[in-house]
Symmetry: C2
């Protein structure tokens, strides 16, 4: 069966030019169809600081007021997205940068929360796979920034507003939608970042947990072995498996090629049972 | 014969939310295939100022050092491009934002000048029409930011750098390439901005010159009637006509629908003879 990979790359990798170079040349070497989803929070935080805009995070999520929305639209949709696209193009990989708004691939709504105003933060309602398939079938690699949009009646905008959207969730939902609708393909989801995988001891890169079932995850979470920012990533990962994604791997950005070639010996491999 | 329009929209229109709203709803109402090319220099200048980056212009062209390149990549490729895309999507127009780097649609090189270093400014070598046709043929409207890229050996970048590229020239070269390769289509080029057309008296909006041949343009240029920023626009316009573009119109952004329906009574219509 043919394989398609959704590859999420974290902001810490993007922020280091040598790590990014390695990542891009590895991506360009993957012969299967692939979709890249990138973060970039740290760069957005730096740009906000330069512009005198305070960054407020709650449980790892950025509170996105109008000024912050402008920053993330510029940094994610412009700076980071085009750096990745131009880098891949120079390596012969026909990349095309997008946000969830472009070609209407992701429909979202502004998050509503009973006690907290996240501001311009989007939760995903629906992924439209047809434009992605059109691109993939013509040898084009979509590179997707963590932004969506929603129609709005706000008189100060132009009929729509962009929404800041979590990149891990976006990767999970893209992989799930493609798994459901992409007949004849196995969809693999890779979360790539600056660590070797899910670690049993946070400071010990050798403590990678090679296989984690959902049941084991519950135990590791209770024990506090898996905690903080890794929790939503794990939830997103298991959600993708429940939606029909064939394999989910959390691994180092330098292990992408091995992870796509052999899904068992690199990083942490997640399964439902 | 079927028609395809390349529509350049100037930065002053983008900068005014009411004018932009009107422009977007007009674009969404055009039933023919269309490609939008946008500017945004004024917004880039404002963002540069906020970041403490000095803006240097020579003959209306922005000197683009590394910091300025970062700003235009953010502002053109991110902020403005996604504002237009999200706005069109909310109006039911299936827009997809791109730069010249995306899907490899425009190949450029860094400008070399005997006495002046423009910095990261790109001159266009080639337009690859196949990805644009793929999108257009599937009902997708490309929205193109005035940025290109080139491969580089610079060790500080990731194998490529973005290049700041003139939007008028980009629109002209896109229209020319499409006219040459898009069999069965008439390609029209529209330059839309905040004035009624090419004016005989710069402060009199009623002084629109309705038809201008290349010969008449030479005379108007000698007399100083057409001057400054209008000169490169005119050169780009006549270049497109020489390359087989069927019609070129310079008009107000509020006249787009009339201009696409009837190419003779709105704004300034250019012809080679």
């Amino acid at each position: 069966m043919k394989r398609l990979f959704v590859i999420k790359i974290g902001g810490n990798v993007i922020d280091h030019s040598q790590a990014l170079k390695r990542f891009l040349s590895d991506i360009a070497a993957i012969t299967e169809q692939k979709i890249i989803v990138h973060g970039g929070g740290k760069i957005a935080t730096n740009m906000s600081a330069k512009l005198g805009i305070e960054t407020r995070m709650v449980d790892g999520r950025r509170i996105t007021d109008a000024n912050t929305l402008q920053v993330v639209t510029m940094v994610y949709g412009g700076l980071i997205n085009k750096t990745i696209v131009a880098g891949l193009q120079a390596l012969g990989c026909n990349a095309l940068g997008m946000t969830g708004a472009d070609a209407g691939i992701i429909k979202a709504h502004k998050r509503e929360h009973p006690t907290l105003d996240y501001g311009f933060v989007g939760d995903i309602d629906h992924v439209e796979t047809a434009p992605l398939r059109l691109l993939l079938d013509h040898g084009i690699t979509p590179v997707i920034a963590p932004l969506t949009s929603t129609a709005t009646n706000d008189s100060t905008t132009v009929g729509a507003t962009m929404l800041n959207t979590n990149a891990d969730t976006m990767a999970s939902m893209l992989a799930s939608a493609l798994a459901a609708e992409y007949a004849g393909y196995e969809v693999g989801l890779l979360y790539c970042f600056e660590k070797q995988g899910v670690l049993a001891a946070i400071d010990d890169e050798a403590s990678v947990i090679p296989r984690i079932t959902f049941q084991e995850y519950q135990i590791l979470k209770e024990r506090g072995v898996i905690a903080k920012g890794m929790l939503p990533k794990m939830e997103n990962a298991f959600a993708a498996l429940r939606q029909g994604v064939s394999s989910v791997r959390i691994c180092h950005s330098e292990q992408i090629i091995e992870a796509t070639q052999d899904m068992t010996t690199v990083g942490s491999c997640l399964s439902l049972e």
